[in-house]
Amino acid sequence: MMLKAVILIGGPQKGTRFRPLSLDVPKPLFPVAGLPMVQHHIEACASVPDIREILLLGYFPAQQLQQFVADMIAAYKIRIRYLQEYQALGTAGGIYHFRDQISSGNPDAFFVLNGDVCGDFPLQEILNFHTSLSTPSLITIMGTEATRQQSTMYGCIVEDKETHQILHYVEKPSTFVSNLINCGVYICSPDIFKRVGEIFNSRQDFYSCEDSEGTESIQLEQDILMPIAGTGQAYVYTTDRWWSQIKTAGSAIYANRHYLQLYHKTKNERLAVNGPDKPTIIGDVYIHPTATVDPSALLGPNVSVGKNAVIGAGVRIRESIILGNTTIQEHSCVLYTVVGWNSTVGAWTRLEGTPCDPNPNKPFAKMDNVPLFNAEGKLNPSITILGCNVTVPSEVIVLNSIVLPYKDLPRSYKNEIIL
């Protein structure tokens, strides 16, 4: 069997809710648990033996991804290419536009993964399910259970409980439809291009009198899944493994924690361990080999420390991401915070955010993508984010605040966005 994988990474106009972290680096390259977000997708794909090629599809300028793609090829010894859309083509539009590249070599099927989800992707299981079906599936969706209340924020799937055929599909309904939701991970049979082509051509007619730009923007969810649902050609594979969207910057901390946890299964060597002349580690911590962490520091749980970062004596870090070339001076305390590249944090300073984790008391609860501001126009408490090249003086507190890049903070801040 020969398979390919397509990872939809979007473009600069996407992922704005991830700002300010996506101001300096394309969102798919933002490091979570020490690896660029989309590398976790690549790693999951590379672990499926039949996947021979990975295609990254998006509309970021090619030079922003060149180095990353080269690094990935070197790391995973697999064909990886970046296919750049000339404009935003929509999730299915891009796949259709590059159908020749996807179809070349006659793959038996291809995976499609949204770049802005994270999780413990059961790709082999999805493949096994997809290929074992008695009636062929054009598209098999990875689904998971959500709470009744949260399900309407996602694509909702109604399945035949016996056959797992999709009876009905609707994107973000205004009323409750089903608590089985679309995870943005699919496996498609190459025959799907025929269906997409038909839809594409019908839209061409429909839009011919209008401005021609939008015609190629086809959404996989609304334009493909909705019409295929109920025809017996779409299936759902339900998983209860960890899965989440990464929409807001706050979700980076949540994703970081879960990816670190996944390292226990397969990549134990990435997790920091306790030892003489080493910092004290609690729980899951990733420290880049080039980072310098003072032995008197206390890190964890759920901390990632990036390339060439310097963590001073007596520093405490918990539930946070420290990006490359950042310095945290002695005795400082960093909780639920993302510290951007090349930032400096003084001594005895406290950076603290508020976690926005899923409700632990509700089974199947997902993260709420809370808006920045509440109904009274006040900033909702969320994780604290320092953009790149931010300087925080000694002995201050930065609480529940978002600091844009290249700022020298003169004092303490609480519940503020610092432009």
Partner: protein, 371 residues
Amino acid sequence: MGFGGKDLTLGNMKALILVGGYGTRLRPLTLSRPKPLVEFANKPIVLHQIEALVAAGVTQVVLAVSYHAEQMEQELAQEAQKLGIRITFSLEEEPLGTAGPIKLAQSILASNDEPFFVLNSDVICDFPFTQMVKFHKQHGREGTIVVTKVEEPSKYGVVIYDETGKIDRFVEKPQEFVSNKINAGMYIFNPSVLKRIECRPMSIEKEVFPYMAGDGQLYAQELHGFWMDIGQPKDFLTGMCLFLNSCKLNNSAKLYKGPGVVGNVLVDSSAKIGKNCRIGPNVTIGPDVVIEDGVCIKRCTILRGATIRSHTWLENCIIGWKCIVGQWVRMENVSVLGEDVIVKDELYVNGGMVLPHKSIGASVLEPKIIM
């Protein structure tokens, strides 16, 4: 109503300290210890006053209290012995205000012809008692009150007096500037003043002083140096800064010198300070306090037996007796911990007033009282 024993040391000066009630403004500290015994700069507030009185020739001090406090009576009895003076308690059955207690203690205060002192118990300054006696005897009238300069006189009652010090009148909360001198809460009177006072709730400021001034019997003496009413936590800390600064000028040997110390710092010899700390400016560390490594403390009082764990940062706090403040804690903005409070690791306490024997397990983001 009674006195704690017979007075056998006639012929010397007497003083009355107006202690009054439960010291509610200095809670949560006063929930564990009567206000006069709360340590200011490592010494009970009232001992600052008593020691200065003794130095000026006082041999008997009466504490006017409106509640019975066994602990205070025992502790001060020991202090009296050390100082070789008598300390007695005058218990009001109902609060008698600022003048009534003077009448209540008449038998002691008027037992000889010497003038006697009357003090508010919340006042901290370089006590000018010797100069008061001198000035008072010089002008020869019935009373002398100490006045001090304030920045915002409109918040207080101000005192108007001539160049000899003779008081003309008092103006309560003046809307237009008439004077920047206020009553500093320290007086010296001839025993004849007792004729003006009745044994009932009575205000010395409103019901005695205006009449004395009207009779030309009241003089003002200006205070030099700092002055603070330390009756509430914010002012307690400000008073501490002023006191330590005064120490530096007058008695700098009392101040602590050591690695990591910045500015004026007072440390009891039994306290332990770890490595890589930065203590000061304006910090008082009490007996048996343990400051672990990497702690930063500014403008705080740490009371007896408290422990501050590693890497913690404190500014503008009063840490009560036997408290334990965890690692990587940040406390600021006039936070006050009552006795035996535990603050768990990595918390932030912003203006928290914490009652005794509490364990704090969550950050206090905005100023509030933790019951």
